[in-house]
Amino acid sequence: MIDMTLTPAHYKSDVKPVWCPGCGDFGVLNALAKALAKLALRPEDVAVVSGIGCSSRIPAYTSAYGFHGVHGRALAVGTGLKVARPDLTVVVTGGDGDGYSIGGNHFLHACRRNVDLTYIVMDNRVYGMTKGQPSPTTEADWTSKLMPQGTGLGEIKPMAIALAAGANFIARGFTGDPNGLADLIVSAVEHPGFSFVEVLSPCVTFRPEQREWKKMVRGHALAPAADSVEAATRIFADDGMNLGVLYAGTRRPFAPPIGRAQRTPTDLERRFAL
């Protein structure tokens, strides 16, 4: 029985966010609530899982089940949850540090494993929570206390990595466009298999210049490529500001059967009996 009167407000909790005023993550929370309302999912059938970071605080701000784990392991928690409980809608959330730095390996393998869950990364190209260090998506010349001369390293391209690792749905949204972002999240949740949504979500405190993103993004600039080769060609030439769906593939989700017992453990004892 699905209650069609659920509004976005139903998906928010009464816990006050610790985010700075103006933080991009507020918009992501709004978009997520809108998307869940559009999907008409009951809050108790949704689980929002995260790691550690400002962005990773999001689960407690929703009225869904939440799991706020340790830094970098959200996708592993979400994978275990979804495989064990295929009936739930699992949304994994987090930041660029959580997902691409310490959590990079799980990102690679979640793309490959293709479990039916949605991964939303709030990319602000900085470690907000620990007060402003560069992340893997930070520009080479951005200076900070820890890296006074900048990292000198090229930024990674998460969408290209997702594609190379086998992700089934790849999109980019912007927190300043909560409706567009909500639509992307809806598509991501509805798409079978692992869906990756990169969200440009400014950190107004440590990267105030990201307020300019709202002038830089190009809405609906990406439309699903025909195949991964075409998607690759596009994304390797991408400047990071094109919004929309890059790729929507048809790989079969990984969903090993669970709950279908043919035997009891006691039956298995026979294998050892002399």
Binding site: A60, Y65, A76, G78, K82, A84, L88, P265, A273
Partner: protein, 581 residues
């Protein structure tokens, strides 16, 4: 033979050995199965050289009229198809003074390391006999010979070979012929004390490894989700679990690493499905941060650590009890959790099952410390007793609008708070590794921190663990305290001591954390001094007893590092010395 004066032995230890590809392990398994079906108890362990595959191999068996849980101090028989690199097993296969070393005539004298003890030497043309049988192989000739020497019934041998090769008729025929040829050749050897008659029929007994037993215990305890990353010597447990889980409606996920394994298991358990992962020392080390998350978020989870020699990569194929420290104290912050250890191949079933039950009811992680010896040993055992009652997680019921808000981390008297399972309406919450108040909302208040620490300690400290916390055997004013795989040889040693008139109690701790000081003190009532037996270098159990038990008796330590199991004679010698000191 432990019983050389009698005409028949109640226990015989045999090693089969040879170079890679000679089929030693196959022969060993067949011998084990033949002994089992003939009605004997038996135990088999394996060893091989440094080569990844195809290096020299040895199958070590003990066959007895009573349950056996360790190898003896000396082997009665070493039978090898060739001597190439077999000398490398010198330290692992000590020959008893009355022992026999049997080889192929064509191979020349056996390595001195085996014969130095004064063992008898015999040689037969094994390869030549095999060559006389089209498709025949020396390992089968040797098997027939050894079966005959031990006095194992011909049909039991026949059956063991047939069961293994049944699906490959082309191999079966020549193997049976070689077996028979070996059996006949035995007549030419000097008489060898045969086994005493079996103590009964095989019916009701099991042939199982510790890793399989642990896997079965997990399933009996209710585990239906396993995520893991391969590692020696835990892989066999996973390989047994994978298809078995599927058949009981569960699933095993091969994770990308141990960080993922433990977090996947936590995710599944958060979803309401009892979950487990298995690993060895290096993998356990990688799981500690997330074990702390399971403590703080109060998520049940079981980690089976099949200990191997450490530190670091150590010796992956050898056993050690060196992970007690990390299992007890490896989590950052104050993180109470459960640590258990099976003390025998069969006990791996009940202990793993109990670990699942405890983790589920206490909503916390449990670490099960098995080891390479227990895990990979294959043994004939009596059918294990039924385990603990199945998992019983205290689950929160759905709530309706207007009900008081759900307090996931409510400060209950027992310390246990009902846990909502996703899908349940009205009780949604966010599980958190940040310190939190009763509702789960992050808090940096000292009072919340102290209250949650108390709660998490209380639920473990106040639980009644019943009688399973330890195995207590024997009487007297002396005691040996141990855990895990040292229990087998200790039991045998104390039986021998008793025969000699020295009564010593055996205390084998199954529940290592939370410590049960009052129970242990009671078990030691009347004891004058105690010896702590363990297989590691630094005395980890000894330190645990000192730090957390405040025992009223003086403690001495008997320990050695991994790589060489204790045997009963060795322990006996030390116990006798210590008792007199």
């Amino acid at each position: 033979m432990t019983n050389p004066s009698n005409s028949a032995a109640t226990s015989v230890a045999i090693a089969l050995a040879g170079s890679g590809g000679a089929g030693i392990m196959t022969a060993g398994n067949m011998l084990l199965e033949a002994a089992a079906s003939a009605g004997y108890y038996a135990l088999m362990t394996r060893s091989s050289g440094p080569q990844i595959r195809g290096g020299e191999a040895a199958a070590m068996l003990r066959i007895a009229t009573h349950p056996v849980e360790c190898m003896p101090a000396g082997f009665d028989l070493l039978a090898a198809v060739d001597w190439e690199n077999v000398h490398r097993f010198g330290a692992e296969i000590p020959l008893g003074a009355g022992g026999l070393v049997l080889g192929d005539e064509a191979e020349g004298a056996p390595p001195a390391v085996f014969t130095a003890s004064g063992a008898a030497i015999a040689a037969l043309p094994l390869a030549a006999i095999a060559r006389g049988i089209p498709g025949g192989r020396p390992n089968m000739v040797l098997l027939g010979l050894v079966g005959a020497l031990l006095g194992l019934p011909e049909d039991a041998m026949h059956e063991a070979v047939s069961r293994t090769l049944g699906k490959r008729p082309a191999a079966l025929e020549p193997s049976l012929a070689a077996l028979a040829a070996g059996r006949s050749a035995a007549g030419s050897l000097q008489p060898f004390t045969p086994l005493a008659p079996p103590p009964g029929s095989a019916a009701g007994r099991w042939l199982i490894t510790g890793n399989e037993a642990a896997g079965l215990g997990a399933l009996q305890g209710g585990v239906r989700f396993v995520a893991a990353y391969p590692i020696t010597p835990a892989t066999e447990m996973l390989e047994w679990l994978s298809p078995s889980l599927e058949s009981v409606g569960g699933v095993l996920v091969q994770a990308e690493d141990e960080l993922a394994s433990i977090n996947m298991a936590i995710g599944a358990s958060y979803g309401g499905v009892p979950s487990l992962t298995a690993t060895s020392g290096p993998g356990l080390a990688l799981m500690l941060e997330s074990l702390g998350l399971a403590v703080a978020s109060e998520t049940p989870i079981v980690v089976v650590d099949i200990m191997r020699v450490g530190p670091s990569t150590g010796i992956p194929t050898k056993s050690e009890q060196g992970d007690l420290d990390i299992a007890l104290h490896g989590l950052h912050g104050d993180a109470p959790h459960l640590v258990l250890a099976p003390n025998g191949v069969g006990d791996a079933l009940a202990t793993t099952q109990w670990a699942v039950t405890l983790a589920e009811s206490l909503q916390c992680p449990a670490i099960v410390l098995s080891d390479q010896f227990l895990g990979q040993a294959r043994a004939v055992i009596d059918r294990p007793a039924a385990g603990a009652s199945p998992a019983a997680r205290d689950v929160a019921a759905a709530a309706a609008e207007g009900d008081a808000p759900y307090r996931r981390y409510a400060l209950t008297d027992s310390g246990i708070s009902p846990m909502a399972i996703p899908g349940t309406a009205g009780v949604t919450y966010t599980a958190d590794g940040l310190e939190h108040g009763e509702r789960g909302t992050p808090s940096s208040q000292f009072t919340d921190h102290a209250a949650q620490l108390d709660k998490r300690l209380r639920k473990l400290a106040d639980h009644d663990y019943g009688e399973r916390w330890a195995d207590l055997e024997g009487e007297g004013d002396l005691a040996v305290i141990t855990f895990g795989s040292c229990t087998g040889p200790l039991r045998e040693a104390l039986a021998l001591a008793y025969e000699r008139g020295l009564a010593v109690r055996l205390v084998s701790l199954r529940l290592l954390a939370p410590a049960q000081p009052a129970r242990l003190a009671a078990a030691l009532a009347g004891v004058r001094k105690a010896l702590v037996l363990e297989q590691n270098h630094s005395g980890q159990l000894l330190r645990h007893l000192k730090s957390s038990f405040d025992l009223p008796v003086p403690l001495a330590s008997l320990r050695k590092p991994g790589g060489q199991q204790f045997n009963a004679a060795e322990i006996l010698r030390h116990v006798v010395e210590w008792s007199a000191a």
